[in-house]
């Protein structure tokens, strides 16, 4: 009776061996189920590379269902539909595909700091935290454990090895309108050496065309602009819901709205509802456009003023990660971007330690916001970046 079915099982289940296995090192593709990462997988597969699709499960969609947007399930984070789409692409091309669960890591390194930052009056960037701590850390680590050396993602940015400096450099995407290098400033040399961004040379239009020509099953899927775990776009409701779920106190009391000179102009209903530079929703009229200039957490005050008050010429940057070179000893003239979509402005970057810097802009910049990243550019190269204090 022993083993009469062995052959039968082989035939029934099929083999995971790939047509191209063995001819090149394997590469893992981080697949979200969207058109960009699906196209990366399709491109590498067509090139004959041996690939493994990995989709990260980052959030349990059963949690905070009321915050996951209105109706359509496909807009929810880590929804079964996105996993389904990624799996469909892998099945269509016939490469191995797995869902890996990083819900715990994501909550610890992205969601909680995001919520805490927000409560502290900073405006956090969860995508950078996710890149630094989940995608290019946990996921890369898992990829290496399962026997692959590199990970490809659908980011619009480029990596180039500079033989003169011996360093892996990060470059802007060729398509300026899609460039995501701002979110990638935290990558270490080790992480950059193990990452590939095959879309960096392409425009979004070209990516769609490639997706269509390769018959990628999600070629026509609409793009999502929202933060993945706040698909409704409403941060505040997410944070309130999250703290409620965690049974954590939301110390957030109404307080005064004051002018630059300290004159009380009105009341705010909790500082977490505001961000620096915000104009609407202040609840009073001064006759002139008025903006949030500063969030004074210590005194629970919202300081408002005219547009001119929002303009500053300098900021301090912490946790700087240098990419193009090891930390410099002298000041550098470069362009600095202080938020996604901000046009990089001329500035002098003066290192104050191996991972801090003082940035002085040539022209005052509007709404330099603590918690956002300051990313340093020289031409198309990202020299490095850090977090605005």
């Amino acid at each position: 009776m022993q083993a009469p079915n062995a052959i039968q099982i082989e035939n029934a289940v099929g083999s995971t061996a790939q047509p191209h296995a063995g001819c090149q090192a394997r590469i893992a593709v981080a697949m979200s189920g969207g058109v960009d990462s699906s196209t990366v997988a399709a491109m590498l597969y067509q090139r004959g590379q041996s690939i493994i699709g990995l989709t990260m499960q980052l959030w349990n969609h059963r949690r905070l269902p009321q915050l996951q947007g209105d109706g359509a399930i496909q807009h929810r984070c880590c929804s079964p539909d996105d996993v389904y789409d990624a799996r469909r692409v892998a099945e269509y091309f016939g490469f191995p595909f797995y869902v890996v669960n990083f819900e715990r890591e994501f909550e610890e390194t992205v969601i909680r700091p995001f919520a805490n930052d927000y409560l502290e009056g900073r405006t956090p960037i969860p995508c950078t935290l996710c890149n630094n701590h989940v995608k290019f850390d946990q996921l890369l680590s898992t990829a290496r454990q399962i026997g692959v050396d590199k990970i490809a993602t659908g980011h619009y940015a480029r990596i180039r090895f500079n033989p003169d400096s011996g360093r892996h450099e990060l470059l802007r995407a060729c398509d300026e309108s899609k460039d995501q290098s701002y979110f990638l400033f935290g990558l270490t040399q080790e992480q950059l050496s193990r990452a590939e961004f095959p879309l960096g040379e392409l425009t979004k239009q070209e990516v769609r065309e490639i997706a269509r020509s390769l018959a990628v099953p999600v070629a026509e899927k609409p793009e999502s602009q929202e933060i993945c775990f706040v698909p409704s776009g409403n941060y505040v409701r997410f944070i309130e819901g999250y703290f409620q779920e965690q049974r954590m106190p939301l110390a957030d009391e109404p307080g005064d709205i004051v002018s630059m000179s300290g004159e009380v102009l009105g009341r705010h209903d909790g500082l977490r509802h505001y961000t620096v530079g915000q104009r609407r929703g202040l609840g009073f009229a001064t006759g002139r456009p008025t903006y949030v200039v500063e969030i004074d957490r210590a005194r629970n005050r919202l300081i408002v003023g005219e547009d001119a008050a929002l303009h500053q010429t300098a900021c301090e940057v912490r946790d700087v990660n240098w990419i193009a070179f090891a930390s410099p000893s002298e000041s550098i003239a470069a362009r600095v971007r202080i938020r996604h979509r901000h046009e990089a402005a001329e500035a002098i970057i003066e290192p104050t330690s191996h991972d801090t810097a003082h940035v002085t802009f040539r022209e005052p910049q509007r709404a330099i916001t603590p918690g956002q990243a300051a990313v340093f550019y020289l031409g198309e190269r990202v020299l490095g970046g850090g977090w605005i204090r």
Binding site: M1, Q2, A3, P4, N5, A6, Q8, I9, E10, A12, V13, G14, S15, T16, A17, I52, Q57, N60, P96, Y98, V99, V100, N101, E103, R104, S141, T142, R144, Q145, I146, G147
Partner: protein, 398 residues
């Protein structure tokens, strides 16, 4: 592919397939129809019912066909409690290491206002029958205990619990999904009132199972419709599936002794080799009181998810626990119940062998697994710490 996940599901036996095919081609009738096409289908269902009854030492009239193990377990728990509970009998006892098909049915009972006591297993993965005795109150209406655990394979003292239940005049359900085809089953010897099995765990088709119901056991149906299955499970009979479970039961009965002895020998050789060649590999559950085919191994310092994927890429299929819980972040409730830490539970794989497992496949697995474990450990953060931690606490298994 080297398939070592027979506890998740088994391939369909070729003879079962041959028995099923005519029911999808020629004998397509509705088993409730009066005409001869219906009569042929009815005859096939009746024969299958006899085979299933014979597998577990029951009479054909005591067998209710269901859509699988989950439905059989739900019908047993919810159906019995609906029919037999009263204002003074609102307590249920279950073990903490049950499959989710039982545990989540128990949670539903709690939502309906019943009290449920979950009995912890001992660190060897076996529940102490005396704990069952101690948990009984004057309100207890039902005890539910699994026969063989799906994750670690340990066999529970069903006969002893059966005697305790009978003495106390309490209904007793046994989830035998993982023991059918691996252990001799006799409902009278086990002393059960209700017993669940599922065809695809013993080389039958998916989508069909059965619940044994001892005569006189009250049971409300879960669904409402026709008068099928003696009013206990309405719905047109799944004739091909039922014929499949019948044939699978017949084969299981015929092959059981021979299968279990060589599968156990192969399993023992496999796990001994793993323990010998991998530092700090540890077998979970009592090695003496287990079904023949299952081994559950903790590889401290190597994440189960990465292990599973890496082995699949090497052509070896296994699991991190119940297939029904995969994708969950929670560590296995079975492993934590027997005293493993969350990290240890997340560094554990289940290998389950079966009729199709060949000796040369085990040779290959013995060669591949240590290499993969070593690589993953070396690439895991804090690997030094975890290994040291494990060495300090590992109890020698041999």
């Amino acid at each position: 592919m080297i398939y070592l996940d027979y506890n998740a599901t088994t391939p369909l036996d070729a003879q079962v397939l041959q028995a099923m095919l005519p029911c999808m081609e020629r004998t397509f009738g509705n088993a409730s129809s009066i005409h001869s096409a219906g009569q042929h289908a009815r005859a096939a269902v009746d024969r299958a019912r006899e085979s299933v009854a014979a597998l577990i030492g029951a009479s054909p009239a005591e067998i209710v066909f269901t859509s699988g193990g989950t439905e059989a377990n739900n019908l047993a728990l919810l159906g019995l409690v609906s029919a037999a509970s009263s204002s003074t009998r609102r307590h249920v006892i279950a073990t903490a290491i049950e499959h989710h098909a039982v545990l989540n049915a128990c949670q539903e009972l709690e939502r309906r206002g019943f009290d449920v006591t979950y009995l912890q297993a001992r660190s060897n993965g076996v529940v102490d029958a005396q704990d069952v005795r101690r948990a009984i109150t004057s309100e207890t209406v039902l005890i539910s205990a699994m026969h063989a655990n799906n994750e670690i394979g340990t066999i529970q003292p069903i006969e002893e619990i059966g005697r305790i239940a009978a003495e106390a005049d309490i209904y007793f359900h046994c989830d035998a999904v993982q023991s059918a085809g691996k252990l001799r089953l006799d409902v009278n010897q086990l002393g059960v009132d209700l017993l669940s099995i599922s065809a695809h765990k013993f080389y039958g088709p998916k989508g069909v199972g059965a619940l044994y119901v001892r005569p006189g056991t009250p049971l409300e149906p879960l669904f409402f419709g026709g008068h099928h299955e003696r009013d206990r499970r309405p719905g047109t009979e799944n004739v091909p599936g039922i014929v499949g479970i019948g044939k699978a039961a017949e084969l299981a009965r015929a092959c059981l002794d021979e299968d279990t002895s060589w599968i156990a020998a192969l399993r023992d050789r496999f796990e001994t080799a793993l323990v010998d060649s991998i530092p700090d590999a540890r077998i979970n559950g009592n090695r003496e009181t287990r079904v023949c085919n299952t081994t559950n191994v903790t590889f401290t310092g190597a994440g189960g998810e990465a292990l599973l994927i890496a082995l699949d890429l090497e052509g070896i299929a296994c699991s991190t626990g119940a297939a029904c819980s995969s994708g969950s972040v929670e560590p296995s409730h079975v492993l934590t119940a027997i005293g493993l830490s969350d990290d240890e539970a997340r560094s554990t794989l289940r290998f389950s062998l079966g009729r199709g497992t060949a000796a040369h496949e085990i040779d290959r697995a013995i060669e591949v697994i240590p290499r993969v474990v070593e690589r993953i450990r070396s690439l895991s953060p804090r690997s030094d710490l975890s290994a040291k931690d494990a060495r300090a606490r590992t109890v020698p298994v041999r």
